[in-house]
């Protein structure tokens, strides 16, 4: 099922992007921590009656719901399309599939690569988050909550990767695969922003999976079904993609 050569190939062609995105994420996380500290200092100087924001929920909205969603989304869109649809489009898969390699090996191995990449990103961000909190923030971070929030966003990323991967397996051209994969991902993101603008367009939240990452619910411990839905979307996308690709007619 898993092909070492293809996995190696996956990391050889994607490690740069993975590194850049992970590094940028860490940088943002550190910047956010600085920003929070300064905000707190200013608040301490002239206290206002505004509700105080603790560090963890500050990160939940500013970092995890922002950069930690957007940048991995870019990675998912680019890499999902690159590993299957773009290879089919260019015809580069012809020689690979003419060897002993099966279609399942190609899809499952690349999928594994994508999941490993997202997990690696998650672990590094989690680690840097802990260090940043300890070093700069005197351990104000509620570690368990931070972890739960990150897991929630990781699940959202996996669900998005499920959709993009499925699109990549379904279509034979990059254009179509991107239209569905990137279109849906970006659409979800935009709808999420729209739904938070005003009460009157609040219903938009039912059309986007991004709202399934819900910091309030997660911190209030009532988040299980949201995680289940995200996990389900991810797994359905993966399995659907692998099956579709195995049985479809390839223009190679």
């Amino acid at each position: 099922m898993i092909n070492k050569t293809i996995l190696k190939r996956y990391f050889m062609s994607n490690w740069r992007l993975l590194l850049i995105i992970t590094a940028t994420l860490c940088l943002f996380l550190l910047m956010m921590t600085f920003a929070y500290n300064q905000m707190m200092e200013r608040l301490a100087e002239n206290p206002t009656p505004a509700p105080t924001l603790d560090y963890t929920s500050f990160l939940a909205n500013s970092f995890i719901g922002g950069m930690y969603l957007l940048l991995p989304m870019v990675f998912i869109i680019v890499v999902c399309n690159k590993v299957i649809a773009s290879q089919v489009d260019k015809g580069a898969l012809a020689m690979t599939l003419a060897t002993k390699t099966t279609r399942n090996e190609v899809t499952i191995t690349n999928l594994l690569g994508i999941i490993i990449s997202l997990l690696a990103m998650f672990l590094v961000v989690f680690g840097v988050g802990l260090l940043a909190s300890l070093g700069l923030n005197e351990g104000e971070l509620i570690v368990l909550d931070f972890f739960k929030l990150l897991v929630g966003m990781l699940l959202l990323q996996l669900a998005l990767s499920g959709i993009c991967f499925f699109a990549s397996c379904l279509f034979n051209t990059s254009a179509k695969s991107l239209a569905l994969g990137a279109g849906l991902s970006i659409g979800f993101y935009v709808l999420n922003i729209l739904s938070s603008i005003d009460q009157s367009v609040d219903f938009f939240k039912y059309f986007t999976i991004v709202t399934l990452y819900n910091p309030e619910d997660i911190l209030a411990l009532s988040f299980i079904w949201e995680y289940l839905v995200l996990g389900f979307i991810a797994i359905a996308g993966y399995i659907g993609g692998v099956i579709v690709f195995k049985y479809k007619d390839l223009p190679l």
Partner: protein, 240 residues
């Protein structure tokens, strides 16, 4: 494939196949060596001496990036990766496109070598010369359907041959025309005629020729090309 259902057991069925696509596309950012090694690993190739031999035969530097290679070099890299695992079955789609005549020749020699080893070769090509030199059986495909299958031997050693004759004077030409022969083409101005003669009738034909003053005589070799053209002649407009 070799009696194995490729859908049910995809990996077992193509253990020994070498495939060369018509338009090879390579993964981005790989050097020739990396690509050969990549395909080799996928094929479980342990011994790269054959690959090195092939690199030697085609005289190519595989250390450069494939992206920067010319069409011919890419084709060579493709050929090397298709042949290096000593496949039992070779499927080649226009294998010599992009190769210069010397390399085409080397490739044909390579194919003949493989053929002697007993490799089954499936070759699609527009190059009649290449097909004639390497193939045993030819199928002509027109508009997606096989219109005919023929053995190359039958074309090369056909029992009836075509000869071209040119006469010195008009009188001979006119009386020759009255002979009971299967004349397929005439050119009165040049006093030329093309005649189909069965091998069994060759002596009678020479007897007839003996009576005339002949300026020029030659056999017109039947080639695969003529055979091929006979299927396309007259209705090329329909194909467009």
């Amino acid at each position: 494939m070799k009696g194995i259902d490729t859908w049910l057991h995809p990996s077992e069925s193509n253990v020994n196949i070498g495939y060369l696509p018509g338009e090879i596309a390579f993964p981005d950012n790989m050097t020739g060596d990396e690509y050969i090694k990549y395909i080799g690993e996928l094929e479980d190739v342990k011994d790269y001496t054959r690959a090195k031999e092939l690199i030697e035969i085609f005289g190519i530097d595989t250390s450069g990036k494939i992206k920067k290679m010319s069409k011919g070099m890419k084709q060579k890299v493709g050929i090397i990766s298709a042949f290096m695992n000593q496949p039992e079955i070779l499927i080649l789609d226009e294998p010599t496109s992009g190769l210069d005549p010397i390399m085409q020749n080397r490739f044909i020699e390579l194919l003949q070598e493989e053929k002697e080893k007993g490799t089954t070769i499936l070759l699609s090509s527009h190059m009649f010369n290449e097909v004639e030199r390497t193939c045993d059986r030819v199928a002509i495909i027109r508009q997606g359907y096989i219109v005919t299958k023929i053995n190359i031997v039958d074309i090369k050693h056909a029992k009836d041959k075509k000869y071209k004759v040119e006469f010195i004077n008009e009188k001979d030409y006119d009386s020759f025309m009255k002979e009971k022969l299967d004349v397929s083409y005439t050119n009165p101005k040049k006093r030329q005629a093309e005649v189909n003669v069965k091998d069994d009738d060759i002596n009678a034909f020479f007897g007839i020729l003996n009576k005339y003053q002949i300026k020029f005589f030659s056999e017109i070799k039947k080639s695969l090309e003529d055979y091929f053209m006979s299927f396309y002649r007259g209705d090329t407009n329909n194909d467009k």
